[in-house]
């Protein structure tokens, strides 16, 4: 693995860490509940991107399964919360 790729992966991990921090600030600050759900969904997507970057760094395909699982859980969680905000209950 060439030094260029090593440094690119480090830089990408730093960028994604910063992205997760911004989403966390919005999660705490967001004046309404739907802002917080949006921030949580963005956190899930950033975590999935971190998993993909780690899979590139350690050259192991286990991280793709983890990324797929994170995306599934993120989708289900965000959908359940959005449905609750819209209707007052998740399954009618």
């Amino acid at each position: 693995m060439s030094p260029l790729l090593v440094w690119a992966l480090r830089f990408a991990l730093g960028c994604l860490l910063l992205a997760m921090l911004f989403a966390l600030v919005r999660l705490f600050r967001g004046p309404s509940a739907q802002d917080r759900v949006l921030a949580l969904d963005s956190l899930f997507v950033s975590a999935m991107l971190v998993m993909l970057t780690l899979g590139l760094r350690y050259r192991s395909s286990t991280y793709f399964e983890a990324a797929l699982l994170i995306s599934v859980f993120g989708f289900v969680g965000s959908m359940a919360m959005a449905k609750f905000l819209l209707r007052g209950e998740v399954i009618e």
Partner: protein
């Protein structure tokens, strides 16, 4: 570790990874800084679409060269996100619209407005 990849593979992978991470950072910055909820809904889609596709392409490229066979397994993740992210965003937008109406804010009363015919 033992396989030595041609340099162009590493360069292209590095460019794709950096571009994808920068797009995700830009989307999160928009999420932090934009002023209203309906503006903020658009921002994370940058990371969900651009970031995911660029990173998945980088992993597909890198792993195809490491394993000497096409590794399109990672594109499954991008396809799943492409299918589910619009559903989540639209649902959340409708929930935000509903709650904004309840709070008495200045938002349209119906999701689909009837177009006014020209007189």
């Amino acid at each position: 570790m033992t396989a030595s990849l041609p340099l162009w593979v590493d360069v292209v992978t590095a460019v794709l990874v950096v571009a994808g991470a920068l797009l995700a950072l830009l989307g999160s910055l928009g999420l932090l800084r934009l002023r209203s909820f309906f503006q903020r809904v658009h921002a994370p889609t940058l990371g969900a679409t651009g970031g995911t596709w660029l990173l998945t392409l980088a992993t597909a490229l890198q792993f195809s060269f490491v394993r000497e066979q096409f590794f399109v397994h990672a594109l499954l993740i991008a396809l799943f996100i492409a299918l589910t992210a619009p559903i989540t965003t639209i649902f959340l937008m409708r929930a935000g619209l509903f709650r904004a109406r309840l709070a008495g804010q200045d938002v349209p009363q119906t999701v689909t407005e009837q177009p006014t015919p020209p007189t």
